[in-house]
Amino acid sequence: MACAEFEQLLLEYPELENGARARVDAHVAQCSGCREFLDALLVVDSQLTAEFAGQEVSASFAPAVHQRVQSAAPLARPSLVPELLDFAGWGAIAAVAGLLAWWLVPLVPVPHWELSLDASFAAAGAFLLAALLVGIRSFADLKD
């Protein structure tokens, strides 16, 4: 078969640069084994290119895919819960900010500000609600 020294060059023949190709051509002209090997490689390349080059899907491929997709179970619709909880989360942040203001303002030495017991309970309830909403929001994020 091909000479050991030239076998790799013959396998890479189409990619050889001019200098290497000229050397191979000169050798092939004088060596029947390498000539037969190169001819056989050309037959292989020619037939396999004819068989496999330009392979594409048929015209009915995309419609067939759409039909299969429609027959398959529908995708789960994106849930609105994260968006609702987002809104609740921002609301909770606003509520907490309000509560902080409610607590801090009395510390400011302005005489007419007073804090009643009912207001304290309301503030505590609002704080707990805000904390609950923020917590639920975090849980939704973790689930994602």
Binding site: M1, E7, Q8, L11, E12, P14, E36, F37, D39, A40, L41, V43, V44, D45, Q47, L48, T49, E51, F52, A53, Q55, E56, V57, S58, F61, A62, A64, V65, R68, V69, A72, A73, L75, A76, P78
Partner: protein
């Protein structure tokens, strides 16, 4: 195009993302399936099934790899599963004693007449499975080592080694066939 598809996925516009990726990847998926399965009709059917799987998996795509890498991985896994289910083809090397003679004796070589064709495809079917896959894909992907390596997710050196070995075996089989034609 991949960036646009990912933008759709980020915004959970799955239908739109799918409508963009189908024409973009259908031929690549088909060619990879054809290379792995060895049959065009089977490959097209498998490619359709693969796109259904892609459709179902779109909400779970997190972008850790590129979209093409993700799609080709789904393709390879689906084809490997199909190959296992159908029973893997026995890997035969042309170097195994008697294989080349058996191939030639089975009528793959035409009678020695001027211009008679040698059926290289029959020889290709006798090669080990991985050699067949890389050879089919190489000629489908316009002889690009890079593209073959990307689709199969093999190192470039491995692709070249397999290709050279396969082409050498095929060329030697063709040359032996020609010699036999000449001595009949």
């Amino acid at each position: 195009m991949e960036q646009e598809i990912r933008a759709c996925l980020d915004q959970k516009r799955y239908q739109e993302a799918f409508e963009r990726l189908l024409p973009e990847f259908q031929n690549k998926v088909f060619r990879l399936a054809y290379a792995m399965l060895g049959d065009a009709a089977l490959a097209e059917d498998m490619a359709q099934e693969i796109f259904v799987r892609i459709w179902k998996a779109l909400p779970g795509y997190r972008g850790q790899s590129s979209l093409s890498t993700w799609i080709y991985a789904i393709t390879r896994n689906a084809c490997l599963t199909a190959l296992k289910a159908s029973g893997a083809k026995r890997e035969v090397s042309m170097e195994a004693p008697g294989v080349a003679r058996t191939v030639e004796a089975s009528g793959t070589v035409s009678l020695p007449a001027a211009g008679a064709a040698i059926d290289v495809l029959r020889f290709l079917d006798q090669l080990p499975e991985k050699h067949q896959q890389v050879m089919r894909l190489y000629y489908m992907e316009e002889k690009s080592y890079e593209e073959v390596a990307r689709l199969l997710e093999w190192p470039m050196g491995t692709v070249k080694t397999y290709l050279h070995r396969a082409r050498k075996e095929l060329a030697e089989a063709v040359a032996r066939s020609k010699m036999k034609k000449g001595t009949r």
